[in-house]
Amino acid sequence: MAVVARCRGGDRAAFGELVVRYQRPVYNAAYWILRKPEDASDVAQTVFLKVVEQLDDYDPQYRFFSWIYRIAVNESLNLLRRNGHEEALDEDVELAADASMDPERQLDAKERKERVRSALMEASTADRTVLMLRHFGELSYDEIGHVLEVDAKTVKSRLFDARQRLRGRLKPLQAI
């Protein structure tokens, strides 16, 4: 990647491009794990600094995207570990609705999404992390394994278990 190479050379503009390109996924990865916008923002900034500092450690056999996710997940999990316990949910995040739908369907869709989001937020950190990487980061099993430092088989198993638990949380909501 040209941007990465320029960033490695100390190009400030390249660093800015890197942030612009990856700030949203990095921020969301941190947010889904930490569930706190402030902490996610802190971690996101730290992640980009670490990306610059550790560029020499980047292994090109993996996508840069998954490598940056790895840093984001590790930073977020480290923060949780240092804190010692998980905090209560921060519910002040406003999610955008799909403007292409009519108002009634918008309301249904918004409610459905909100319920799924709530169920996901109530899941364990491990479940949230692996589901986030798969469904929001759209990483493959191998890439998730690289991020979490486990093999693909373990990823497959963790994903299955996480979804099963999520289904259990959403069961009462099946009528929606």
Partner: protein, 327 residues
């Protein structure tokens, strides 16, 4: 295939991670099993719901904050930076301190959706201040020697300056009648009590000794010189001899007498403070005797001897008294 295996393969197919064989098995199952189709449809709904969960936008200030941190890091790495933290969340470089704290009263929100803790900011200031103090102490202990040794000392050492009162000048010296005492010190500032006493004692001693010495010396000198000169002159019959002998005798006698009398007078004056009247009387007598002697003595010898002896005696006496007064 068990129900669990079937479900795992469905997940893999929906994830796009199933092997071709697993994909064929699931397709066959869906074609033949209504319950499997229902189960698969439910899973598809879950996947779709997960994909539909909206993702939050990154905070507006994230780029600026990250760039600021990046520049600070570069400055620090080049040794020219300033320690600081411009994180948009204002939560500090130690995220563990910030996690799990909901926005509370007293916090201000910046960059929309991001909070800053005033308390945490103060704590950071304190920590930063302590860190700076530690750095300053370390730097000072490295480069500044406590206590300083003479090795690293340089510069000029100047003596301490004592206060000096205004000294009498030529304008302060007033001429008066020879018989009238003159205060050459005029209107000098009043010294402290001890200094004043010392000065007074010195003046009295000086005057007393001087007067006594002069009187004795002159009397002896005049008598001795006169007798010798007269004797010589009469013996030689020469007016010149009389004059020379008289002059020599007067000069020698005055010198000896003045010196002896001055030293003696000084000692007496210092021992006895209450000799003022006596000194005045003696001075008066001395002046009288001196005047009388001067009348009789030759005009040549007397001025020389008096000037010499007086200057010598005064200088000695003044030096001695000044040293004492200063001490």
């Amino acid at each position: 295939m068990t129900k669990g295996e079937r479900r795992r393969k469905m997940h893999a197919v929906l994830d796009g991670e199933a092997t071709p064989e697993e994909t064929r098995e699931v397709q066959a199952l869906l074609g033949s099993d209504a319950q499997a189709r229902e189960e698969y449809a439910e899973l598809e709904g879950l996947f779709a719901a997960l994909r539909a969960v909206p993702q939050a936008h990154a905070p507006e200030g994230l780029l600026a904050a990250a760039t600021s941190l990046y520049e600070q890091r570069n400055q620090l790495s080049t040794g020219m930076g300033v320690i600081g933290d411009n994180r948009i969340a204002g939560r500090g470089a130690s995220p563990e301190r910030s996690i799990g704290r909901a926005p509370a009263h007293g916090e201000r929100r910046i960059h929309g959706g991001v909070t800053m803790s005033m308390k945490t900011g103060n704590r950071k200031l304190w920590i930063g201040g302590v860190a700076l103090a530690v750095v300053a102490i370390a730097v000072s202990s490295r480069y500044i020697e406590f206590p300083g040794s003479g090795d690293a000392t340089s510069g000029a050492i100047t003596p301490a300056q004592r206060h000096r009162a205004a000294q009498p000048t030529a304008a302060d010296i007033k001429l008066a009648n020879p018989g009238t005492p003159v205060n050459v010190q005029g209107s000098l500032p009043t010294p402290p009590a001890s200094a004043a006493n010392a000065a007074e004692n010195a003046a009295q001693s000086n005057a007393q000794g001087f007067a006594q010495g002069v009187a004795q010396g002159r009397a002896q000198g005049v008598a001795q010189g006169y007798a010798q000169g007269v004797a010589q002159g009469m013996a030689q019959g020469q007016a010149q001899g009389v004059a020379q002998g008289h002059a020599q005798g007067v000069a020698q006698g005055m010198a000896q007498g003045v010196a002896q009398g001055h030293a003696q007078g000084l000692a007496q004056g210092m021992a006895q403070d209450a000799a003022k009247s006596s000194a005045q009387g003696m001075a008066h007598d001395s002046a009288k005797a001196s005047a009388q002697g001067m009348v009789h003595d030759s005009a040549k010898a007397s001025p020389q001897g008096m000037a010499h002896d007086s200057a010598k005696a005064s200088a000695q006496g003044m030096a001695h008294d000044s040293a004492k007064a200063s001490a």
